[in-house]
């Protein structure tokens, strides 16, 4: 989880990612951010994130991203 928060903070240092749960709905992460994050996550966790996973529900908070990663590792 901490690694994911760090990745997010790299993109937007000004946001409190521990708390925020509307990263997509409030347009904090744009499409460029999402792709950067996907490349980071694929590298770090050696997972394949397919395009079907790129939904607001999966990317709205650090926690939901973490859960998606967990699911893909399993």
């Amino acid at each position: 989880m901490d690694i994911i928060v760090e990745m997010l903070e790299d993109l937007h240092p000004e946001v409190d990612f521990e708390q925020c749960s509307s990263l997509i709905d409030d347009k904090i992460l744009d499409s460029f951010d999402i792709v950067s994050l996907v490349t980071d996550l694929s590298e770090e966790f050696d997972i394949t994130i397919s395009v079907e996973e790129l939904t607001p529900e999966n990317f709205n908070s650090a926690k939901s991203i973490y859960e998606m990663v967990q699911r893909l590792i399993d």
């Binding site: 999402i34 950067s36 490349t39 694929s42 394949t48 395009v51």
Partner: protein, 521 residues
């Protein structure tokens, strides 16, 4: 039948009356019949092409759905017996079959679009004397093909199940208000109101009619009037250079906005009269502070289509992720992160350009947009530093500067739409810096563009009204606020709007002539 024909007005009135008189479960059937009549009058051969798209998409989505169903049942039944590897293999096999059908349908439908729209362009670039195949391009084909392929991909991704009724899919594809120039709808979004049974609702009706009137006002009073001056300037690049080019850019910015948003207002308004909610396509784009923001607020449904069905699939595809990993290992982390984004962005913008038209102008326009977006992305750390150092980010004057800068940047890029070829556009850019004729415009030049002083007064009043409405919209829906005012005030206001369309509208011969710009895409 175009929105700006008297026939369309009769068509809407008759359709609306019937719509609320017939049994509610037949309402969507009436819309389908109405849509086919609407499209058939525009061109009977169009009906063949759109039917090919509907039927092929229907058959393939049903097939994909079936493959998924069999896979789900197999896994459910044998969950205990199958090993993890076996489950993976079954899944890969099902995905492979689904992908085969997806690719087939994409090739078939984009193939129709490509042959009809682009074959002349491609062949004439190879053989200079080629006269053209002479295909008739069905109106709105780029819009309905994109909308239907979005549906197909959604079913493939398992976002929702395939529609079992081919006629309902037919209505989704051909629904007449959005058929010619959008907005591009998503099936899961539109179906809840498109196929629902609806009672007559006075608020919806009133708001819808107001929106339609506002659309006609923008189109007939502003856009079609400005079109005269814009055409005078761009069709004679030998005469109208220097400051005229800037004036043309400014006029075209307003004309295109009034034309396209006017058409969308009519579409959304007609939808609302029929109790159907269409997506908003604009969010006051000329108040954007950057080009990225502009593209989030202009032609929103096309932008999100490209994002969801092209940008994301390309940028997170296996080859891209592998390339990213390779670059991270062998060059550096940052480049590995950015290359997929950059490749996907340029491909998306190249396609966006080509989507708008089969000509080099649009290719250059599309790539121009992509390159400016990437440059501003690269420079954004520098911008941030500047904003922080001088503490200007929240200052009013700086926001105004950013808005004006974005407006003119977009106007410069948009000039590629206007002139007959890329070379002429560059010549006109050059003339802005070399031909000094600003005085000429204000000492009689304006009057030579086909518009009289009354036209300029009307245009100024119209643009001020557009601006006021835009500013008013910033703090919430304008019509809801208006509806809270006394009712007679509302009626007077809309009666004045109606009268002004009748009196001040720019009508071609027989009120029929001026097409919407986006209906040609």
């Amino acid at each position: 039948m175009l929105f700006t024909t008297s026939n369309f007005i009769f068509f809407i009135i008759i359709l609306t009356v019937l719509y609320y008189l017939i049994p509610k479960k037949l309402q969507w059937v009436l819309l389908l019949i109405g849509s086919l009549i609407f499209y058939g009058i525009a061109g009977t051969s169009y009906l063949i092409y759109i039917s090919l798209t509907v039927v092929s998409t229907y058959l393939v989505t049903i097939k994909i759905d079936k493959i998924q169903e069999i896979y789900d049942a197999n896994i459910k039944e044998n969950k205990e017996k199958l090993s993890r590897e076996e489950r993976k293999a079954i899944k890969a096999e099902a995905n492979g079959k689904k992908r085969f059908w997806l690719v087939l349908a994409l090739l078939f439908n984009f193939g129709i679009l490509a042959v009809l729209k682009y074959s002349d362009f491609v062949v004439s670039n190879i053989y200079k004397d080629f006269g053209g195949f002479g295909f008739v391009l069905p109106l709105g084909i780029s819009f309905y093909t994109f909308q239907t392929m979005g549906y197909l991909i959604d079913v493939y991704w398992g976002k929702y199940r395939a529609e079992k009724n081919v006629f309902k899919l037919g209505l989704f594809t051909s629904f007449f208000p959005q058929l010619i120039q959008g907005p591009i709808s998503r099936f899961d979004d539109l179906k809840s109101t498109l196929f629902a049974e609806k009672d007559f609702n006075w608020d919806n009706f009133e708001f819808g009619v107001q929106r339609i009137l506002w659309g006609y006002f923008k189109k007939l009073v502003i856009a079609d009037r400005l079109l005269i001056a814009v055409n005078t300037i761009i069709r004679d690049p030998g005469t109208y250079q220097g400051a005229y080019v800037l004036l043309g850019m400014f006029f075209y910015a307003i004309q295109l906005y009034a034309d396209f948003t006017g058409g969308i207002d009519i579409a959304i308004g007609v939808g609302q009269v029929l109790g159907i909610k269409l997506k908003e396509n604009f969010n006051r784009p000329y108040f954007s502070k950057s080009i990225v923001e502009y593209w989030r607020r202009w032609h929103i449904t096309l932008g999100t289509w490209f994002r969801d069905y092209m940008f994301f699939p390309i940028s997170v595809s296996k080859p891209m992720i592998n390339l990213s990993k390779y670059l991270r290992k062998n060059v550096n982390n940052e480049l590995g992160k950015r290359v997929p984004i950059y490749i996907a962005t340029l491909l998306v913008w190249l396609t966006t350009g080509i989507w708008h038209g089969a000509a080099w102008n649009f290719v250059v326009w599309g790539l121009g947009n992509g390159i400016v977006i990437l440059i501003s992305q690269e420079l954004s750390p520098l911008y941030d530093k500047f904003h922080n150092k001088f503490d200007v980010k929240d200052k009013f004057y700086f926001k105004v500067f950013q808005i004006v800068r974005t407006f003119w940047l977009m106007s410069f890029l948009r000039t590629f739409d206007c002139y007959r070829d890329v070379g002429t556009t560059f010549k006109m850019y050059y003339s802005i810096f070399t031909v000094r004729n600003l005085n000429e415009i204000f000492s009689g030049g304006l009057m030579k563009l086909g518009l009289a002083i009354e036209d300029y007064i009307l245009l100024t009043a119209g643009v001020v009204l557009l601006l006021l409405v835009s500013l008013y919209q910033r703090s919430g829906g304008i019509r809801i606020r208006l509806s809270k005012k006394p009712i007679f005030l509302n009626y007077i206001l809309f009666f004045v709007l109606f009268l002004s369309i009748i009196i001040f509208g720019t009508y071609g011969i027989g009120f029929d002539q001026s097409q919407f710009i986006y209906s040609q895409f």
